[in-house]
């Protein structure tokens, strides 16, 4: 924290990520409060039903979000070193490779099957970690996904999707 009087606007831009995150927590609390209001009133004389706990949780998130916002606007979350993060900026391509792998896996696991979807995920995730040996990674991924599939489907009888493969 800077000892001199940092203008509020400056602090806010410095911790803009924290501000957005705090507002998201407040909004989550608000949304849950709205949802709680849609729940039916408790019946019976004890007046306890499904509403009580959701009211506690939504209220809690709302208040915690406001407290986080206050920290974010006044010097940032306590004990979080933002300088450390600007030194090593997020390597977004890596993030995207892995994200693509997982989203494709969700789309393909049923129609194409666990083994092929898993192999593809393996190759894309390995790319995220900087490995470009796609063919070799594909073979390794196929072996891992294949053995896992065989073990869980035939060994334990857990139904994993075969997809386009005949077995």
């Amino acid at each position: 924290m800077t000892p001199t009087n940092t203008p509020m606007a400056n602090t806010a831009t410095k911790h803009s990520g924290q501000v957005v995150l705090s507002i998201a927590v407040v909004l989550l609390g608000t949304a849950l409060a709205y949802g709680t209001n849609q729940l039916p009133e408790a019946s019976g004389y004890a007046k306890v039903g499904p509403r009580l706990m959701s009211a506690i949780v939504s209220g809690g998130l709302f208040v915690l979000g406001l407290l986080l916002l206050k920290e974010a606007l006044t010097g940032g979350f306590r004990g979080v070193d933002e300088a450390e993060h600007t030194e090593t900026p997020t390597h977004w391509p890596a993030f995207l490779w892995i994200s693509t792998g997982l989203v494709l896996n969700g789309l393909l696991i049923v129609p194409v099957g666990f083994v092929i979807a898993g192999t593809l995920l393996f190759v894309l995730a390995a790319r995220g970690f900087g490995s470009r040996a796609d063919v070799r990674n594909g073979i390794v991924g196929l072996i891992i996904a294949g053995i896992t599939y065989a073990f869980f489907t035939y060994g334990l009888g857990l139904g994993l999707p075969a997809g386009i493969l005949p077995f």
Partner: protein
């Protein structure tokens, strides 16, 4: 004696071929995931939850418990040989053990931590055997208000007291509680926050949340943030068979570490970090060679490793006897019990005595297996550390999709897994702890049930929590812990 009879009964069940096999699979897997960075016992048990539909409860729970305490053995190998701790509880071992390895004493460091873990593991299972029936005797008289107050206390300690910031810890806890709300309320049948999505009506699976936060979040982080860290591996040098001098310097720290670790584990003050640091500090004070600390003192490995292992058994005691999980892994073990319609806690000792005692007996056996796995066979585990990062994390992701999809055969859960992975990434970026999310999600619905039961008994009168002496004192302790630090600061300022 009653306890010894029950234990003998437990051994007769645990020593069947089948259960010995599950125990072996559990401790082997546990050691492996303890050694491997990027995957820990919590994720592993979560990933294996789908198998609960296929194997019998005693086998599955013996295996899951084996993974939990097995990982404590494996974690030290990584800490000693790599310059990064395998898990947070092995930070101290990473400092001191790594220094020993740098001076060509890796063997002795691995030896003292494996034997120390065995000593601590075995002594604390004995403690568990005799302490848990006593706890059960007391807890069996608890009513809903007492249980609710106990859970509130546990929530507070795991989220607000431990970790860097009470505010961020509590936020994580409440996110977990919110996740726990999703789905059909078991008592009234009302759907909450499901938006008519069929997959959400059934609730969000523990596997998806645990694997998303820990495995997927960790993978995203390792690939996009941690790419600069270069791990240097220390060579496995020096005999793993310790010298007479090493033995002489190790046994005291083992016993003291055990004595410190077990009570910390049993208390709902979760986490193995505090006892390991405490043990380190004590050994440094007592040592005849305090100057060696920080440069590879064997006491600094022996004590904390024993404390680490002892606290994990302590956590098991609280889980079994009170039904209270004080760590993320314990929370997932609780979820595993629930898969079989079982609820850990005092009634489990009454209703499923066979199962509980077989599980306890298996822990004696598992610790012996682990000593063999980690001492003469340590070379095999060291090879695991040579798996290149891209292969390791890509492989973890395949297992992640296996566990999540296997739970209820729904591609929807894979997308949810990714979304929770991103949440885990964001939480890590802004230094929010993730364990409270898991504990909130699993313990939340149980706390809600106790809360509603209490209020039904009192016909809606909240004073019931203050009228019972035990629940009133537990709530007072909770309030003191939440307000105390804040009030202290105000007083100091004034």
């Amino acid at each position: 004696m009653d306890v010894l009879n029950s234990l003998a009964q437990g051994f007769s069940l645990a020593l069947t071929m089948q259960n010995l096999l599950w125990c072996f699979v559990g401790v082997t897997l546990g050691t492996a995931v303890g050694v491997l960075p990027g995957i820990g016992p919590a994720v592993t048990v979560a990933l294996l939850l789908p198998v609960t539909t296929k194997i019998d409860p005693s086998g599955a729970l013996i295996m899951f418990a084996g993974i939990y305490y097995g990982a404590m053995y494996g974690g030290s190998t990584t800490s000693i040989l790599l310059n990064t701790p395998g898990e947070s509880a092995t930070i101290v071992t990473a400092m001191e053990g790594n220094q020993m390895a740098k001076r060509g004493r890796a063997g002795a460091a691995l030896g003292t931590s494996a034997i120390g873990s065995f000593v601590a593991g075995t002594l604390t299972v004995v403690a568990l055997t005799f302490v848990s029936p006593l706890v059960v005797d007391i807890a069996i008289q608890f009513g809903p208000p007492e249980f609710f107050a106990l859970m509130v206390l546990a929530f507070t300690t795991v989220s607000a007291v431990l970790g860097g910031s009470a505010l961020r810890g509590l936020t994580a806890l409440f996110i977990g509680l919110a996740i726990g709300l999703v789905g059909i309320d078991s008592q009234s049948g009302t759907a909450r926050f499901a938006f008519d999505v069929p997959q959400l009506l059934d609730g969000i699976e523990v596997v998806t949340v645990a694997v998303g936060l820990f495995a997927v979040g960790e993978t995203l982080w390792a690939a996009s943030k941690d790419y600069k860290t270069v791990e240097t591996m220390n060579a496995m040098r020096g005999s793993i068979w310790m010298t007479a001098e090493d033995w002489k310097r190790s046994w005291g720290p083992w016993l003291r570490g055990t004595a410190i670790g077990f009570p910390f584990g049993t208390m709902p003050a979760g986490g193995a970090e505090i006892p390991t640091f405490l043990s380190y500090a004590i050994e440094k004070k007592l040592s005849k060679h305090p100057e060696e600390f920080g440069h590879g003192a064997i006491e600094g490995v022996a004590g904390p490793e024993a404390a680490n292992n002892a606290s994990s058994t302590g956590t098991m005691t609280t889980l079994l006897a009170l039904g209270l999980p004080t760590s993320a892994t314990a929370a997932i073990l609780l979820a595993a019990f629930q898969q079989y319609g079982l609820q850990p806690g005092p009634l489990l000792f009454v209703n499923s005595a066979d199962l509980v005692w077989a599980l306890i007996a298996s822990m004696y056996i598992g610790n012996v297996m682990l000593l063999v796995l980690n001492l003469p066979l340590v070379g095999i585990w060291v090879k695991l550390l040579k798996i290149p990062k891209p292969m390791l994390y890509a492989g973890i992701l395949i297992f992640a999709t296996l566990g999540v999809f296997g739970m209820r055969q729904s591609a929807f859960d894979i997308f949810l897994l990714y979304a929770i992975g991103v949440l885990g990434f964001v939480m890590r970026r802004y230094d929010f702890p993730t364990a409270p999310v898991i504990i909130g999600m699993i313990l939340g619905p149980l706390a809600e049930a106790q809360l509603r039961r209490s209020l039904s008994i009192s016909q809606g009168d909240w004073m019931i929590f203050l009228q019972k002496p035990l629940s009133a004192s537990l709530l007072a302790i909770t309030a003191a812990m939440l307000i105390g630090p804040w009030a202290w600061k105000k007083i100091k300022k004034a």
